[in-house]
């Protein structure tokens, strides 16, 4: 090979590179961007549901899965057309601030506390989640908190408040804030034998459970409501109102609700549709 060939190769490479830069994103279908909580993606719900929506409507859906806190922030910055999140009071603040048009209940599941099978704090013997957390704090057993302002993190903080304890003052000792997503936090919890609060869907589909078990569940306080919100076009003129509304209407319709309810993993239904009827 001569140097000429070499340089022809490099020139070609450069040209290809630039060509790629100049090429706009190819998209056959119109698309909408959904700012979403991670559990709906990590649980596989979107992989199951979105192809059905696209087949029905011809609209592609781009999902940016971040924590609820970041999804709300990105939504306020107009970087999405709608949100699928799970922190009702934060969602209502988002609407009140004029960033979103309307919040509708979409579906629910529940939170659970998982921990090592050895259960050093005897969480399995407790009846309520408040008692479970008190047992963990009392035993100073390791607890992994999301610490990332996500929906799950907000729920966890609210539950600690109900115990009357302040675990944040023990941050770095038994109370460990990972500042990461649900999956990363579960990996960390399994790695250091720490209890953690997780949504059931992420847990069921999680592939690195080690010897971890569900140790606290079923308390009504562990209810986990997901909401769907259209980003306010009056605040963000880039919102694709028509397509985004098509998506929201589909998700809330008997068809969309049936699809949500029919998604199962290991024989268990992961999300329970509860959109208002009519």
């Amino acid at each position: 090979m001569t140097t000429t060939t070499l340089f022809r190769g490099i020139a070609l490479a450069l040209a290809t590179g630039l060509g790629l830069v100049a090429t706009p994103t190819l998209a056959a279908n119109p698309f909408i961007t959904v700012q979403s909580t991670t559990s709906t993606q990590n649980s596989g719900l979107y992989d199951y549901l979105l192809p059905k929506f696209t087949a029905d409507t011809g609209i592609d859906v781009h999902v940016v899965a971040v924590g609820t806190g970041q999804a709300l922030k990105n939504g306020a910055n107009c970087d999405g057309d709608l949100l699928v999140v799970h922190a009702k009071s934060a969602e209502e603040k988002f609407i009140a601030a004029g960033y979103g048009v309307k919040r509708t209940n979409l579906m629910y599941n529940d939170f659970i506390i998982v921990g090592p099978a050895s259960d050093p704090a005897h969480v399995a013997a407790t009846k309520t989640v408040v008692d479970a957390l008190k047992a963990i704090a009392g035993a100073k057993a390791a607890f992994a908190s999301r610490g990332d302002n996500s929906g799950t993190n907000k729920k966890e903080i609210a539950l600690w408040k109900a115990t009357g304890l302040d675990p944040a003052k023990d941050s770095g000792t038994w109370y460990r804030e990972t500042g990461s997503g649900m999956g990363a936090t579960l990996n960390t919890a399994v790695g250091m034998n720490a209890y953690t609060l997780t949504d059931r869907a992420t847990w069921l589909k999680f592939g690195n459970k080690g010897d971890f078990k569900i140790l606290s569940q079923g308390d009504p306080a562990l209810f986990n409501q997901y909401g769907i919100i259209l980003v306010n076009p009056a605040h963000c003129d880039n919102v694709k109102v028509k397509q985004a509304k098509t998506f929201i209407d589909w998700m809330l319709s008997p068809r969309g609700q049936k699809v949500i309810g029919s998604y199962r993993a290991f024989g268990t239904q992961l999300f329970h549709p509860n959109a208002p009827k009519g």
Partner: protein
């Protein structure tokens, strides 16, 4: 642990379209970023090496320091720029491969500029006096130095490619890891890890490594095939 490790290689063996799509996007994004970065950084590096101007030393220190730019910081900065509420929001780059190319270009540029500057400094010292005595003007000297540096600059390109292919922090934020749109190898690995599919994630990591080996082997072939002197 599941048998995800083998799954990944089975997917690769049967050219699973999703996996192929992710690999191709990784190559496309990183390759484009390195190409653009080189186009900007080589003349800049040559300038830094050969043209004395006030503040040059400080600029060299700055460019060298920027080689260590944390990708997540670049991602965050570009998110703030490209967000619809940001200064460059009208470009609608956010959550597109273009935004990812820009992010990696920013990461590769200081590396390419700094390493190429060093190459040019060495060669310039070697050739400047000789070419001057032959009556060459400034531009002829520059061109000769560029030509003599060509193989060393391939190494610079490889260093840039390594940085681009391996980073996750920046493309995760500005790309959004959107399936079929902005999901690349590193963001897919991060996602699979967060799903607890550790074996599958690791297998993807090995595929990425293999990709890197192929790129390096190809360039190594180009470099040595000519039998010429290598300036590194």
């Amino acid at each position: 642990m599941d048998n995800g490790f083998l799954d990944a290689f089975r997917m690769l063996a049967r050219f699973d379209p999703d996996l192929v799509e992710i690999i191709l996007l990784s190559i496309k994004v990183s390759f484009s970023a390195v190409a653009v970065a080189l186009l900007l950084a080589l003349p800049f590096g040559a300038l830094l090496a050969t043209w004395p101007f006030p503040g040059r030393r400080a600029l060299v220190v700055l460019v060298n320091a920027l080689m260590g730019l944390p990708p997540v910081v670049v991602g965050l900065g570009l998110y703030l720029l490209f967000s619809h509420r940001g200064a460059l929001g009208v470009l609608e780059f956010l959550y597109t491969p273009t935004a990812m190319i820009v992010a990696q270009t920013v990461l590769v540029f200081p590396i390419a500029a700094s390493l190429s500057r060093q190459v040019f400094v060495d060669l310039h010292a070697q050739y400047d006096e000789m070419l001057r005595s032959l009556g060459a003007n400034k531009w002829q000297i520059l061109l000769t130095v560029f030509w003599e540096a060509r193989r060393s600059l391939l190494t610079v390109a490889l260093a840039g490619m390594g940085r681009a292919l391996s980073e996750v922090g920046a493309v995760m934020i500005v790309g959004g890891n959107i399936d079929h749109v902005t999901r690349v190898m590193t963001t897919a690995i991060a996602l699979e890890t967060s799903k607890g599919s550790l074996a599958f994630a690791m297998a993807l990591g090995i595929v990425l490594l293999a990709l890197s080996v192929i790129v390096n082997a190809a360039v190594s072939f180009l470099r040595t095939d000519n039998g010429g002197a290598v300036h590194v």
